[in-house]
């Protein structure tokens, strides 16, 4: 297993390298630049600004400078003057992480039981009912559910602040909004995965032998039934903790998620590179974790 993990981490190096090159090229090809303004900037000024940001150098040099200063931790953000990319990520990631983690816990606590319940009671009213609840999160996308919750519980009843991330109660609405969305996915995938397993012969045998249903589900089937959920969770977990642009803007949370979108809009090349590589690293690690879990859940698989 350690060999497996080691090799996978080794594989991350070319992944990040290729990704950084693609990102670099995309940034330079994108129309406009970070300094373009509604008020036209005279060409001579634009030239000076580009010089000050090292954009006059040959592209390979620019790439090298960007990457080495990113690693050294002193890559300046273009649109947040006086701050470095690393500093901004370090400052904003904890918010996104907290938001994502709570939301994910909500999603799992809500989604898995719903999915299992629906699978066990398949094609009954209970199944349709719990799936309908799960569908709620998909039919009401975050940009609808979020404002709706705020209007009712914050503006209406005054139980919560309509925005911000200061008091503990400020966590409730955004985490619930985000959690509901993922819960829907997880419930659907759990139901599907459980059905696969419930149909297998060993389950029938166990059932015939009179193993109590709860034991059967928890001890024997959940492991296999969660397989699709687990493979979904790898990238989903990376996405959820690196922040959600929609949730963070709707609830005015100073998280990292906003930078994924705004840095592209601002053409903040350095910030784009920073966030992309940060996200990719998370992704690689979490996918690895997921792959390990998959092997642990499924005795037939081996680390290879």
């Amino acid at each position: 297993m350690f060999k497996f993990v080691f090799y996978r981490l080794l594989q991350a190096i070319p992944v990040l390298l290729i990704l950084s090159i693609i990102t670099f090229v995309l940034c330079r090809v994108a129309p406009g630049n970070a300094f373009l303004d509604e008020r036209a900037v005279p060409p001579s000024v634009m030239k000076k600004i580009e010089e000050a940001n090292g954009l006059d150098k040959p592209l390979p040099v620019q790439y090298f400078v960007t990457m080495s200063s990113l690693l050294a931790g002193d890559l300046p953000a273009i649109k947040n003057l006086g701050r470095t990319v690393n500093e901004l990520i370090a400052e904003t990631f904890p918010y996104s992480f907290e938001l994502g983690l709570i939301a994910l816990v909500i999603a799992l606590l809500l989604g898995i039981p719903l999915g299992v319940f629906a699978a066990v009671r398949r094609n009954t009213l209970a199944d349709y009912g719990s799936m309908s609840v799960a569908m709620f999160g998909i039919c009401l996308p975050t940009f609808v559910l979020g404002p709706m919750l705020v209007l009712v519980f914050a503006v209406g009843f005054g139980w919560f602040n309509p925005l911000g991330w200061e008091e503990p109660s400020d966590r409730v609405l955004p985490c619930l909004t985000l959690g509901t969305y993922y819960a829907a996915y997880i419930a659907r995938l759990t139901r599907g995965g459980m059905l696969e397993v419930l149909n297998q012969d060993f389950v029938r045998t166990a059932r015939a032998k009179g193993v109590p249903p709860v034991t059967l589900i928890v001890r024997h089937t959940l492991k296999g039934g969660l397989l699709p959920v687990v493979s979904y969770l790898g990238p989903a977990f990376a996405r959820i903790i690196s922040g959600s642009f929609v949730i963070e803007t709707i609830f005015f949370i100073p998280g990292l998620g906003r930078f994924f979108v705004t840095s592209a809009f601002n053409r903040d090349y350095n910030m784009i590179m920073g966030t992309v590589l940060f996200y990719a690293t998370l992704l690689v690690i979490l996918n690895l974790v997921v792959d390990v879990i998959q092997v642990l859940l499924n005795p037939r698989l081996k680390f290879q």
Binding site: S44, I49, A52, E91, V152, G158, P162, P254
Partner: protein
């Protein structure tokens, strides 16, 4: 609504939908109901803490580098220029850095007597001296600083030459410290709007030792703007700056005019989402919103008339027309479209067939139909030209140009940056042109930078644009249309127009200047490289407990005098 769901076979859907509807109604009803705990706005009145929605995270807090409106609002709290403004009329006042000034007979020499008791916010309380101003203007104009607003200082003698690198010696530039507290400007030409310009932050000073401590004078980005390092001369000091979260400034007791400052604290929230900001306002989280979405105007005016603050604003909304023709390699459609737009009659037909009143009625915030380019209320200016909207005239012009009833006219591409309000205006005009003239227009929205790039590279037929005055003078609206002007971006070039703008800069009397500008504007409205649509208004929700914050045409609000009335809540 209920008739629709009744007898609906999709019973599974109904509960969800019913829930949505219920939630909506609860929200609506409870908007007016009060909750038990006091809102932040209510508590703020006790502590005199002003809570502002401030649009976006500032790019930085260096007044010589950044260009945005959110930054501008913050600068009004932590920095101060030479000349103040009357909060309502914007007339120059002597309640800022200079306690008095004299202007020479020919209007070329300004001498400012600086206030001796004005200090910087550093621990040593350095006095704000004339040398600081000279240093600051050197910084703004220095080519290496590459300040985007350096052109604001071009009225200074040799300012432009120094900025463009043609002149290396800054002592030749028309700004001098005669002594520690006397500052003299030598101007290139009489600039009647100079005092009005001085209220723009590009003219405001920075603290030289602080700049030097954290970097070089011309360094575009250094840690000097961090709260722990920042030194300013305004009524407030910067105490906290959390990215995408808030900026907090606190009253400076050592500010020279501290008695007039009633607020103890101002917190700026960079709330980008307009709806989030609205909800924040309605729950009493902030005192004032940065903006207001168009679809809320009618609703707000009806439900919260006392809090809906709508005022004329020095800006014009217009469409650019591409006069440069098509580029080599363009397809036949584009070629035909650009060729058609080079025909003045076509442009005129487009301009005359826009029903501006319908658009303004729709926007509902008291925007004025723009039949000229310079907004009404621009200081010392009266527009002399006016587009006479007439569908009949437009039709005959179009027929004259060879497109009777729009027959054979190519489809135009109208570009706008993605925004709900721009989309609506584009949709209305699209329909007006289609119904009125039989002209087809395809709409293209782009995100901001792509849109700027499209316009700058002339890859459009028509493009939505806006111009907000930098200062209160017609010059800011008219000098941009000179041949190859940086902000022209239409390809418009007219010898007489260029001459008029040049003459206006040297005009000896206000009357002469006015006449020159009027002629220039009428040329613009005859040639129509732009199709004006409406004149802007500023739109905010402002809590009624906020006092002494009168509206003005530049929507600039100094923080002196502003206070929060605790009696409002009793």
């Amino acid at each position: 609504m209920s008739t629709k769901t009744k007898g609906n076979p999709r019973w599974r859907v109904t509960p969800t939908q019913a829930a949505i509807r219920c939630l909506g109604w609860i929200a609506l009803l409870s908007f007016t109901s009060s909750c038990d705990r006091p809102s932040r706005v209510e508590m703020a009145a006790e502590t005199q803490t002003f809570l502002m929605g401030n649009g976006a995270e500032p790019e930085g807090l260096d007044p010589h580098i950044v260009t945005g409106v959110p930054e501008n609002r913050i600068f009004h709290s932590i920095l101060e220029g030479l000349v103040g403004i009357d909060h309502a009329t914007l007339a120059p006042t002597s309640d800022a850095g200079a306690e008095s000034w004299t202007i020479s007979q020919d209007g070329l020499v300004y001498t400012f007597q600086l206030r001796k008791n004005a200090t910087w916010s550093n621990a040593e309380r350095d006095p704000v001296t004339a040398h600081d101003y000279v240093y600051s203007y050197n910084r703004v104009l220095h080519p290496d600083t590459a300040s985007k607003y350096s052109y604001m200082l071009y009225p200074l003698k040799n300012g432009e030459a120094f900025n463009k690198g043609d002149l290396k010696d800054f002592s030749q530039v028309g700004v001098k410290a005669l002594d520690d507290f006397t500052l003299e400007f030598q101007l290139e030409s009489p600039t009647p709007y100079l005092l009005s310009m001085l209220n723009h932050y590009s003219w405001w000073p920075v603290h030289p030792p602080t700049i030097e401590k954290h970097g070089e004078m011309t360094q575009r980005s250094s840690p000097w703007t961090r709260p722990q390092n920042f030194v300013g001369n305004g009524p407030f000091r910067l105490v906290e700056w959390k990215v995408n979260n808030r900026i907090v400034v606190e009253k400076r007791e050592d500010y020279w005019d501290a008695d007039r400052v009633k607020l103890n604290k101002v917190i700026f929230y960079p709330i980008e989402n307009l709806e989030t900001e609205q909800r924040a306002f309605h729950q009493g989280y902030i005192h004032v919103t940065y903006e207001m979405p168009a679809h809320r105007i009618r609703w707000s005016l009806e439900k919260y008339p006392e809090a809906t603050e709508i005022d004329p604003y020095l800006g014009v909304y217009y469409f650019r027309v591409n006069l440069t023709g098509s580029k080599p390699g363009a397809d036949a459609q584009r070629e035909a479209a650009r060729a058609a737009l080079k025909d003045k009659r076509v442009r005129k037909a487009l301009a005359l067939s826009v029903n501006r009143k319908a658009i303004c009625d729709f926007l509902a915030a008291g925007q004025l139909p723009a039949h000229g380019f310079v907004p009404p209320g621009t200081f010392g200016y009266e527009s002399a030209s006016s587009l006479e909207e007439s569908l009949e005239k437009a039709k005959s012009l179009l027929a004259e140009a060879g497109y009777p009833n729009g027959a054979g006219i190519p489809e135009f591409h109208l570009y706008y940056n993605t925004h709900e309000d721009h989309k609506l205006v584009a949709e209305i005009v699209q329909q007006q042109w289609n119904k009125g003239l039989g002209i087809r227009v395809a709409l293209f929205n782009q995100e901001w930078k792509s849109y700027l790039n499209t316009v700058a590279n002339f890859n459009y037929d028509l493009a939505r644009a806006a111009w907000i005055g930098d200062y209160n003078d017609p010059n800011t609206f008219l000098d941009m249309w000179v041949t190859d002007g940086g902000n022209n971006q239409t390809g418009f070039s007219h010898a007489r127009y260029d001459e008029l703008i040049r003459l206006a800069a040297r005009a000896s009397s206000p009357e002469e200047r006015l006449a020159l500008f009027q002629e220039a504007e009428s040329i613009l409205m005859d040639e129509l490289p732009v199709i004006p649509i409406y004149f802007y208004v500023s739109k905010h929700m402002l809590h009624p407990s906020v006092k002494a914050r009168p509206p003005n045409i530049l929507d600039r609000h100094p923080f002196k005098d502003v206070y929060l009335d605790p009696n409002y809540f009793n």
